[in-house]
Amino acid sequence: MWLLPALAALFIWGFWAFLPKLALQSLDPHSVIFYESFGNMLVALPIMFHLKFKLQKDRKAVSMLAGSAVLTVLAILAYFYALKTGPVAVIVTLTALYPVISVILARIVLKEKLNKVQIAAVLMAVSAMLLLAA
């Protein structure tokens, strides 16, 4: 039974993308991210209780998560700055195109070959970016 949780993720992430627009009406981006971290922790705390606060000690994985968290916070901060002045639909769609960046990076850095569908997706994404930017 995967459909229900997948649909739940879809709806909840839709709210995740939209709600900051309302929060940014009265708070600056850095304040929104500060309180967002508390909301995040509200959900994580029961998980930590469930885990009895016994976290796996894998230095490499933990380092990757720490680096990822720093970049994620910076990305969300940039997203909030965009959302404060721009239209939700355009910004959410534009930033949701990030898998294209991964595909392009894989092509440049890892020399991975792109199949026809990926090439079409990248071309469509670039066209979308140009249209949304105009």
Partner: protein
């Protein structure tokens, strides 16, 4: 691009997320999903606190009850979304689950239309449709690789 002050930060978010997108996949090879969520939330909070140091000259963290509640709800949604996504992955294929969950801009667009009555030009509408089609194609491309 006269009034597009939002474009540069949006592109910065796009590129940064693009760079970090593959990291959780690597981490999930070494940590269990709930462990990853616990660690991520801790690091997220620490980083969000450190960010505030750079805004001390602007008065630090602001407080306004409605904004605080909405920001905290955003954090809850982010974490719950991740939990449901991982739950869906337990029984469903990555391709199908990603396909459905990656369409979240549609929900955000709908919410913006309902609650903010956001106007959209035809050009932007076409751009949003092209962007969503591109996301679907990427998921399909990923599926056809397996």
């Amino acid at each position: 691009m006269t009034d597009n002050q939002w474009f540069l930060p949006a592109m910065m978010a796009l590129f940064t997320w693009g760079v970090t997108a593959f990291l959780p996949k690597l981490v999930l090879r070494r940590l269990k999903p709930l462990q990853m969520i616990a660690y991520s939330s801790c690091f997220f909070m620490v980083t969000a606190f450190v960010v505030q140091l750079f805004y001390l000259d602007q008065g630090g963290v602001q407080f306004e009850p409605r904004g605080v509640a909405l920001a905290m709800a955003t954090g809850c949604c982010g974490a719950f979304g991740q939990i449901f996504y991982l739950q869906a992955l337990k029984n469903g294929s990555v391709a199908h689950v990603s396909m459905i969950s990656s369409l979240y801009p549609l929900i955000a667009t709908l919410l913006a239309f309902i609650f903010l009555h956001e106007p959209m030009t035809i050009r932007q509408g076409v751009g949003v449709l092209l962007g969503l089609s591109s996301i679907i194609l990427l998921v399909v491309a990923n599926d056809s690789k397996k």
